[in-house]
Amino acid sequence: MRQPTGSAYFMDDTHEPRSSHTAVLVDNEPGVLARVIGLFLRPGLQYRPQPHRLRGEPTRATSRITVVTTGPDDVVDQIKTQLDRLVPVHKVLDLTQTGRALERELMLIKVRGKGEARVEALNLADAFRARVIDATTESFVFEITGKPDKLDQFIVLMTPLGLVEVARTGVAAIARGPEGIG
């Protein structure tokens, strides 16, 4: 039974956890990533630092960090205010607030096999628009971009065909439309 007020941490029953993409614009200074990441002691968070220049200020470099979190609305709001009070943070924008964020991830994946499995891997890669960036007579390295679930699916398909190794970048996200974060 929920009380009229209580801790944010007790409220999962009324706020469905949702996935949120937050763009954080920070000063490009040493240690800034550690400051931002230090806030995320909770599990289940991913981050993706991206170099970025603020339009109109060509000499002053800032970096853009994309934070992917899952949590109820009020926990996501707490994360935003906590990020915003860090001194080198310029702006915190919830890209999923309006439901219009674009997200992409890049993955390099190594598959090893001969004969039919090798041909099948190449065919599937073609269907997924993955590029071959390295090949030997018994292996491929594919480069593939897309939404995280597309990449997940590709990994599932490659597993029985001789999956060796995966390197993923994490998500880069941006809002649709003409407006920028700055």
Partner: protein, 614 residues
């Protein structure tokens, strides 16, 4: 492509590095050494006193200090002492406290005080020396990763690698430490940077490019708050340390607004003095050891105005039973404090004084008024709670009751020129309950972190800022030993602090919890092998007094006040006295234990679930 990415992530060039808009900075550049820049920046920031301890990595700064006359340095005996002195100095003046320590152990010894200042929102700039730039990362003598270690315990920190950035970074450090929710800032300066020659720039009008906390609240929200408050029948003001940090005007406005609305006022440990303890609407402190009337009023109110407090777990007790029927208004300068622990109905982000100024004006202009019949009814209920007289205790002719000792201390020393610091434990709670504060900035205590050893150095810092004031450290015999070495500092600088030790030969609060939670098994909480505090005081060159007879208590306190120089008073008090009232862990505000509760009730008071809490 990869090379280009890397280039974009490279550290900024000198011109880009400092975050202050160069246009806003006074560009009449002068050239001097890094060490001279430090001194000059402190002077330009209006710093009169710094607390520090020299060492290899800050020798150039100490050399520059040697040649400076209008910046007074207080030599401490341990770096932790320096940080607490700066805290006491800051808390009692509203200014920024400044600390200067060396690399390695100097910096790590300062960590406790930095964390303490972060938890209690105390403005502090801590300058640390560092090994020369080319040795960083080589495990050099007295090297530690100061910015790495202090990142989670400061509001912000800097490692300055270029002497031309130093002046701007220092000015920015003061800006960050004092603006918004105040906090500690560390500036780590390698020794070669202190020797190098570079450009000095003055503070100018700093417009920080990313950190600009808002002072004025959203007027629409303030109107909403006023309407909500005007609709109340059972209002309460819950004020905190944010009122003190906002400055004297904020305290005046709390008083004015309380007077206008007729609402009762309670406060957190950190907010004592914002509303006078002698005021007609004062309910006393709230929370775990708060008064019966304050906690019951918080539980039963219908509109709560939280001013500069943060719904700490020592305040709320059991969260899902915290003030269940009330609408809540929260004023705080830190947006992340709002809706953090408790969901509020109206959150106003802004400085307390700015927001209250607006709130009072709107209240007056709209001729708002709380329904007098409802309010009268509310006060009748509050009066019935007050009639329980929850701070009453059974006094004794044989042993000195600690509550009695604090009450007599208050009666014999009260006045606007009296400042009180405490260590942490039972004596701290008794001081909060029985010493009554009518003005802000008179009460210095370690609230958030709960640092034993805080009180004596804090008192030294307060006395430095207020040389003619009566500064008393209410201490326990265990806490006082944690930073006793600062007595030597008090002697050196002729700072007549008075140390009032409530000696019950136990870490009292630990013993109390062991009695309540662990079947009276007093594991390692007895203060064995105590020093003779009178001889200890004399060894340092201070005066030592001792009292154990209640009849001699008053005379001893008078003697303490009259004796010039530092005085240590060893007050032998009842060993087994517990601190009441108390909300046991895991219980709600209306489930308090009062002093008359028998042993039986105490043992049953805390559930198994509550025992797991702290």
């Amino acid at each position: 492509m990869a090379a280009q990415d890397a280039a974009e992530l490279e550290p900024k060039t000198t011109e880009e590095a400092a975050s202050i808009d160069p246009k806003a900075v006074n560009l009449s550049a002068e050239t001097m050494t890094g060490a001279e820049i430090v001194i000059r920046a402190l002077q330009d920031q209006g710093v009169a006193h710094i607390f520090g301890y020299p060492g290899g990595a800050v020798l150039p700064i100490y050399d520059a200090l040697f040649q400076t006359e209008d910046l007074e340095h207080v030599l401490v005996r341990h770096e932790q002492g320096a940080t607490h002195m700066a805290e006491g100095y800051a808390r009692s003046t509203g200014k920024c406290g400044v600390v200067l320590v060396t690399s390695g152990p100097g910096a790590t010894n300062a960590v406790t005080g930095l964390t303490d200042a972060l938890m209690d929102s105390i403005p502090m700039v801590c300058i640390t020396g560092q090994v020369p730039t080319h040795l960083i990362g080589s495990d050099a003598f007295q090297e530690c990763d100061t910015v790495g270690i202090t990142r989670p315990c400061t509001k912000h920190n800097y490692l300055v690698k270029d002497v031309n950035d130093l002046a701007q970074v220092l000015h920015e450090a003061f800006y960050v430490a004092t603006r918004g929710r105040p906090g500690p800032v560390v500036v780590d300066i390698p020794k070669d940077v202190q020797f190098a020659t570079g450009r000095y720039v003055g503070p100018g009008d700093i417009i920080h490019k990313s950190y600009q906390p808002r002072l004025k609240g959203d007027v629409a929200k303030i109107r909403e708050a006023v309407e909500l408050l005007a609709s109340a029948r059972k209002p309460i003001f819950y004020t905190g340390g944010g009122v003190i940090n906002s400055g004297p005007r904020a305290s005046e406005l709390v008083r004015e607004f309380a007077d206008l609305t007729g609402a009762p006022v309670t406060s957190t440990l950190m907010g004592l003095g914002a509303y006078p303890a002698s005021g007609p609407q004062w309910l006393g402190m709230l929370g775990m050891h708060g008064t019966f009337e304050a906690n019951n009023a918080m539980h039963d109110c219908d509109v709560m105005l939280c001013v500069g407090a943060r719904f700490d777990e020592r305040i709320t007790g059991r969260l899902d039973a915290f003030s269940p029927g009330s609408k809540k208004i929260h004023i705080d300068i830190d947006p992340s404090s709002i809706n953090k622990n408790v969901r509020v109905d109206v959150g106003v982000v802004g400085d307390v004084a700015h927001v209250l100024e607006e709130m009072v004006a709107i209240w007056k202009a709209s001729r708002s008024r709380i329904d007098p019949a409802g309010l009268a009814d509310w006060w009748r209920r509050i009066n019935s709670w007050q009639a329980r007289n929850c701070l009453e205790f059974k006094n004794s002719d044989e042993t000195i009751k600690p509550q009695h000792a604090v009450r007599r201390l208050y009666e014999l020393t009260k006045g606007p020129n009296t400042y009180v610091t405490t260590e942490v434990g039972q004596h701290q709670m008794w001081a909060a309950q029985y010493f009554r504060f009518d003005e802000p900035n008179r009460w210095m205590t370690s609230g958030g972190l709960g640092t034993m050893g805080y009180g004596l150095p804090a008192a030294v810092g307060v006395q430095k800022a207020h040389p003619d004031a009566l500064v008393i450290d209410i201490a326990g015999e265990a806490s006082i030993q944690m930073c006793i070495q600062e007595l030597s500092t008090a002697i050196q600088y002729n700072l007549p602090v008075k140390i009032f030790i409530l000696n019950n030969e136990y870490m009292g609060m630990v013993r109390q919890w062991q009695q309540l939670l662990h079947g009276s098994r007093y594991s390692h909480s007895y203060s064995e092998a105590l020093p003779d505090f009178v001889k200890l005081a004399e060894a340092y060159g201070a005066t030592g007094l001792r009292v154990s007879n209640p009849a001699e208590l008053d005379d001893t306190i008078r003697k303490m006040v009259e004796t010039p120089g530092p005085v240590v008073v060893d007050v032998h008090v009842d060993k087994m006295e517990n601190c009441f009232p108390m909300i046991p862990s895991g219980r709600a505000h209306n489930e308090m234990l009062l002093g008359e509760a028998g042993e039986q009730t105490i043992n049953q008071a805390i559930t198994d679930e509550g025992k797991k809490l702290v």
